[in-house]
């Protein structure tokens, strides 16, 4: 037995490896985002004027927050369908609060909303992990409960208004030029990114990868996952503050946003079912989705087709992620109906970009494409026929 040690690879090689790993499955979304931003520049020459571009980012901000929260839930192997309803409820609740307490400080109201969103997430998480209700059902139920509650509360047409200081996060600029919404996105994005590198984040992703292995490694999987729901709820409530600031009070403020968020996360290369994907990819997915809608709008495509586009994207993204690329690359010779001639070598991989699910660092790729050398075994030739 050798005593070879696991020497860490140093220098640029390691940097390159880490870069590939960091981008990982999110690589396609960055390419897509770049293409969409390029297309926007071609379609609309004024798109990159600072004001208009920042306005675009501001419009994307709520979805980016939702995607960051949704990422945490999806990477742990669950869904959160309640976030759109949390946005609606948050906007309506803020209006009702100001109706009752016109002088309330904006920060107090914002924090109250975020705490309430976290509470909704806590309920989602406890029901899912404690009672074993699939999250799809738990959060779908929560969505309906909240939507019905808002409708009952407001009679379908919310009253009240949101004061300017509360709306500032959604529509004002910091330092006179930087939208607060962008700043909020950046801070939340950085926080979630840091969280995914933390002890909790690593155990969360491990739980999404294999709940059984995580449990047997001592991970308190229920607790770890519940926190993901809590953060998703809180992020949704924060998104509600931005949406309310940006577009005012409406009983449809967050309608459909849960599916936009899931689409964005999936587009960002995060594996449905959990265990793989980065929050930066998910947030880039949210930007890409917003850019796509903007582009379609500029091209004169009807806005009512947005759900259709979204449906196509989500199916395509999941299909690409689910396809068993490794099988395609490795298995061709063993097709049942096509016996390989003796000594057939492994096939060459199909042309084209590396598939998203298998973006392994090049130095560590398994030896799939190396032609198998004939085994130089030191065998004795078989000693002729049997003796029976």
């Amino acid at each position: 037995m050798t005593t070879t040690t696991a020497t860490p690879v140093q220098g640029p090689v390691r940097l390159g490896t880490r870069l590939t790993q960091t981008l990982g499955t999110a690589l396609p979304v960055y390419v897509l985002l770049a293409l969409l931003l390029g297309a926007l520049a071609v379609t609309d020459a004024g798109f990159y004027e600072p004001d208009r571009f920042l306005a675009f980012v501001r419009r994307a901000a709520p979805l980016v927050l939702l995607a960051a929260g949704q990422y945490l839930v999806i990477v742990s192997g669950h869904f959160d369908l309640s976030v759109g309803a949390i946005v609606t409820t948050g906007v309506v609740a803020a209006a009702e609060i100001y109706h009752g307490f016109p002088g309330a400080h904006w920060l107090v109201v914002t924090l109250a909303l975020v705490a309430a969103g976290a509470l909704v997430g806590l309920v989602n998480g406890l029901i899912t992990t404690g009672l074993g209700v699939p999250s799809f059902i738990t959060t779908l139920g929560m969505m309906l409960i909240l939507e019905g509650g808002v409708f009952y509360w407001t009679g379908g047409s919310p009253t009240g208004y949101l004061p300017d200081d509360f709306r500032a996060l959604g529509r004002q600029d910091a330092f006179g030029w930087l939208p607060w919404a962008v700043l909020v996105c950046a801070v939340v994005g950085a926080a979630v990114w840091w969280l995914t590198r933390s002890r909790w984040g690593r155990t969360l992703i491990a739980t999404g990868d294999s709940e059984r292995a995580a449990e047997l490694s001592g991970v308190a999987t229920a607790r770890v996952r519940t926190l993901a729901f809590v953060l998703s709820g809180a992020a949704a409530a924060l998104a509600a503050v931005l949406v309310g600031g940006f577009s005012g009070v409406s009983a449809q403020a967050g309608s459909g946003m849960e599916f936009e968020a899931i689409t964005a996360v999936v587009l960002g290369g995060v594996l449905l079912g959990g265990g793989r994907g980065s929050v930066l990819g998910a947030m880039a997915g949210a930007f890409a989705l917003t850019a796509l809608f903007t582009l379609l709008n500029l091209r004169g495509v009807s806005g009512s087709l947005e759900p259709t586009v979204q449906g196509l994207i989500v199916i395509a993204a999941v299909a690409v992620g689910a396809a068993n690329w490794s099988r395609w690359r490795r298995r061709s010779p063993s097709r049942n109906d096509q016996p390989p001639p003796p000594g057939t070598h492994a096939t060459t991989p199909p042309a084209g970009p590396p598939p998203a699910t298998e973006t392994a660092p090049p130095t560590t790729a398994p030896p799939t494409t190396a032609p198998p050398t004939a085994a130089p075994s030191k065998e004795n030739p078989s000693t002729g026929g049997p003796t029976a």
Binding site: T5, G275, P342, P361
Partner: protein, 495 residues
């Protein structure tokens, strides 16, 4: 009648068979031997249609065949009798023998004909004592095996693969099996006999093929060789040099793990003590409670009765998390499903336990990871690599590193070398011994008797969830099997 040529097979990019060839003549018993992980089972599964080869070809009676499904192999006259019998326990013998090929009369199953033909087949196998209408569940393992053989004959099988057929049999049943094998060869069947028991192989076979690390080392006439030669070919070294030296009995420390009167729905009357520096081997047949014992100590399927102490402190772990806090670690049987998060990096897997439970290593930096991986002699370059791309041996080393990070007092190993190559296996053996020498209490479960014998300072034999004896260092395989099959033999006698 059978020719397999240059069979090659990889799983997840790891080549498990390198261009292996094998042939078989009518009436011949051809033994296939090799250590666990040598590729025996994979080779047999290529022939039985359970796996498709990456390359290579199979000819039966001169006709090239490609099997994509076991049914195709069976239609071509290839049958397999697995280690784990594949009968439906609640159906009768006759129903099992004719499963999927029931004789019919006017569209209905002709039960009378089925029973009659089953009885005929069983008579040919000198097993008339089996009634065709007995539910299979009521038969001993040996008799179930006979039913499997009858099933193969009913399907006109001409090439029969027997995978470790004696693993679950008592001594007198083995004799009956040999008699059965001879009857089959007299009928002109060719038999591929997979086993690691030298005595059987030399008694039954005409030729022996030795596999090692997925390659054919040799294929010899049984008459021209002896046990030593075959064993050397299997392990590639002398057996005596194969395991690290045992602990000096005088150097053992205080008891670290004790269980008194432990029991749950799978186990009862478990009493054991493991001292610091000691490796306690646990032997038993499949389903004897070996793994259940490890899972009980680890709190995965906890004890419901009895008491347990770790380093003198009473503990009662109800979940793995609590066991880990108490200083217990389990390197489990199913590495891929239970030991690793396959899509995560080597680094993240190594740190998973400490991150989750907050015990052991404080540092989460690269030095900590590197030190742990050095400790287990991981021969992989990058800690950022996803563990699913590692070989079985390296994966197992990551699992061990993960537990060392938690600085446990008690290490439970359940089949630690299953599916790893011989090099990694030796490294794991050395490591187990080193860890014991550092004062850990080690419990080693293995179905591979040479490993158990070579590694253990004492061997606890389990049968039906109960202790069936404790043997001192260096017991013989026969001693262990006698204990392990004690109740099985009783059952067979009663049947």
């Amino acid at each position: 009648m059978l020719l397999m040529q240059d069979m090659t097979k990889s799983f997840l990019g790891i080549r498990v068979l390198h261009s292996v060839s094998l042939d078989l003549a009518p009436g011949e018993v051809h033994a296939v031997v090799g250590e666990n992980g040598a590729g025996k089972s994979t080779l047999m599964k290529l022939l039985s249609g359970e796996h498709s080869p990456d390359s290579g070809r199979i000819e039966i009676d001169g006709t090239p065949r490609v099997f994509g499904h076991p049914a195709q192999a069976q239609a071509a006259g290839v049958g397999i009798i697995h280690q784990e019998l594949a009968l439906l326990p609640d159906r009768t013998v006759a129903e099992n023998v004719f499963l999927g090929r029931e004789p019919t009369r006017r569209g209905l199953v002709d039960r009378a004909a089925m029973a009659r033909r089953t009885a005929e087949l069983l008579a040919e196998l000198n097993a008339s004592e089996i009634a065709p209408d007995t539910p299979v569940r009521e038969l001993s393992v040996a008799l179930q095996q006979t039913v499997e053989v009858a099933k193969a004959l009913a399907a006109d099988v001409r090439i029969l693969i027997m995978d470790e057929p004696t693993a679950a049999l008592a001594e007198h049943e083995v004799t009956a099996l040999f008699d059965l094998v001879r009857r089959l060869t007299a009928r002109g069947l060719g038999i591929l006999y997979v086993s690691h028991r030298m005595r059987e192989i030399f008694e039954l076979s005409q030729r022996i093929t030795v596999l090692k690390d997925g390659r054919r080392v040799t294929c010899v006439r049984t008459a021209d060789t002896d046990v030593d030669q075959i064993v050397r070919a299997m392990v590639g070294r002398e057996l005596s040099a194969y395991y690290p030296p045992r602990a000096d009995p005088g150097a053992l420390g205080e008891p670290v793990l004790t269980v008194a009167g432990g029991g749950n729905d799978r186990l009862s009357d478990i009493d054991l003590t493991v001292r610091a520096g000691e490796v306690l081997g646990v032997a038993g047949l499949q389903g004897s409670g070996r793994s259940a014992l490890a899972r009980a100590i680890f709190g995965a399927d906890p004890f419901t009765r009895g008491t347990m102490t770790v380093a003198g402190r009473a503990v009662r772990p109800r979940r793995p998390r609590e066991a880990i806090r108490a200083g217990i670690a389990l390197v489990g049987e199913d590495r891929k499903a239970e030991g690793l998060t396959l899509r995560q990096s080597v680094r993240d897997n190594t740190l998973l336990v400490t991150r989750a439970v907050g015990v052991g290593e404080r540092g989460a930096g690269e030095e900590t990871v590197t030190r742990l991986l050095d400790r287990v002699r991981l021969t992989s370059r990058s800690t950022g690599r996803e563990v699913r791309f590692l070989s079985g041996g390296n994966q197992q080393k990551v699992v061990i590193a993960k537990w060392l990070a938690a600085r446990p007092r008690v290490l439970l190993f359940d089949e630690p070398t299953r599916g790893v190559d011989v090099g990694a296996k030796a490294a794991i053996h050395t490591l187990v011994r080193e860890l014991a020498a550092e004062g850990l209490a080690v419990l080693l479960i293995s179905s591979e008797l040479p490993e158990l014998i070579g590694m253990s300072d004492r061997v606890l034999v389990l049968s039906d969830g109960r202790p069936a004896g404790e043997l001192p260092a260096g017991p013989s395989e026969e001693e262990i099997m006698r204990g392990a099959t004690a109740t099985g033999a009783d059952r067979a006698g009663a049947a």
